[in-house]
Symmetry: C2
Amino acid sequence: MPRVLTQTDVADFRERLCDAATRLFDARGREGFTMRELASELGVSAMTPYRYFKDKDDILAAVRARAFNRFADALEKAFHDATGAANKSAAVFQAYVAFAFGEPAAYRLMFDLSQPDESAFPELMDANTRARATMTDYVRALVRDGILEGDADLIGHVFWASLHGAVVLKLAGKLGAAYDFDRISGESFRVLFEGYLPRKRA
Amino acid sequence: MPRVLTQTDVADFRERLCDAATRLFDARGREGFTMRELASELGVSAMTPYRYFKDKDDILAAVRARAFNRFADALEKAFHDATGAANKSAAVFQAYVAFAFGEPAAYRLMFDLSQPDESAFPELMDANTRARATMTDYVRALVRDGILEGDADLIGHVFWASLHGAVVLKLAGKLGAAYDFDRISGESFRVLFEGYLPRKRA
DNA sequence: GTGAAAACTTTACCCCGTAAATTTATCGCA
DNA sequence: TGCGATAAATTTACGGGGTAAAGTTTTCAC
């Protein structure tokens, strides 16, 4: 019988590969990322990654799944560490922005990209679902505590779309100095937040 | 003396090429777009486009410039055809959305993409500036007519970021059935609009 | 040791953007 | 009417990409 890779060997290599791939995506962009450079970064031949992943898309899916999980980790941590619904909401907002600009390539891979039939990658689906949940939980908390009023899922999507828009415009270099990301996202957040405050009825 | 291309010949070919390129971008996506297929679509050899454009990026810049101009055309027409600031605003909103979903590839080329040193393409810069202006003019009209109150440029950017966010989430397939584009963008627009209504001071 | 099979590498194929070399087509002029 | 000259177009070729197929190395039960 020949040498056989243990589960751990495989998992470790996949881990190392995804780390390197994430770094390369950041350094070279989605277009500049190549299997050959990835392999050489890992010190293996160009074909070795194909023992561990079906093809480039499979690697992309794994990298995306890991990005979703890191993202969810960051938001959940922010949510749990802050106390009080209002603080939690601000902390989640900050964590979101920090992730987006700290790992722009990962952010784009998560939200800019529509891989055909993502359902073929259960790991990705799960991570996606998890990240999705963390993005509405904080709104649910705000509504539960009576700080905001309305359909928490709808409000969550509205905040999300608005913030995401500002993020991608910034990432694409579409925002100037006068109306920069902080100004626009802050203003959006403020106006939307006020719009969902409970109506003071007599 | 040999045959020499007239200005018109060159302009016509560039036009035809950009039309075909725009179609191909839509059909194949940014990754799947190739010079070779573009050339074959035009019925010329793979190298002929290089007589008329420096390289692929140069073609991309031209396609983007044309997209910006079509976009500006659509918004300006909507703006001018509607009467009254409120109607104009709604018309511009509709034209924006119609363009984004009618020509998703062109939309992405305009706002998702940051070409390095776009300043090298004056045609692109001009078209970009023009499109930018049409996106804030309608807000300026709303403020001038007293329908909204505040910094028109800031408000314009806030609306833009919010709408853009919903558009790209939809284009990336991130929105589900329950909270779809219309629901989210409509809700965002409503809440932001109300947030900028003049305060009724006693 | 030995052989069989897993892990890995080398080689090779086809597609890409595009540089360089080559061919074709059109003009003014003899 | 032919005949360069030269712009326009095509053909060929190169380096680099993803990855299939073939070849090599390594490891373990016997």
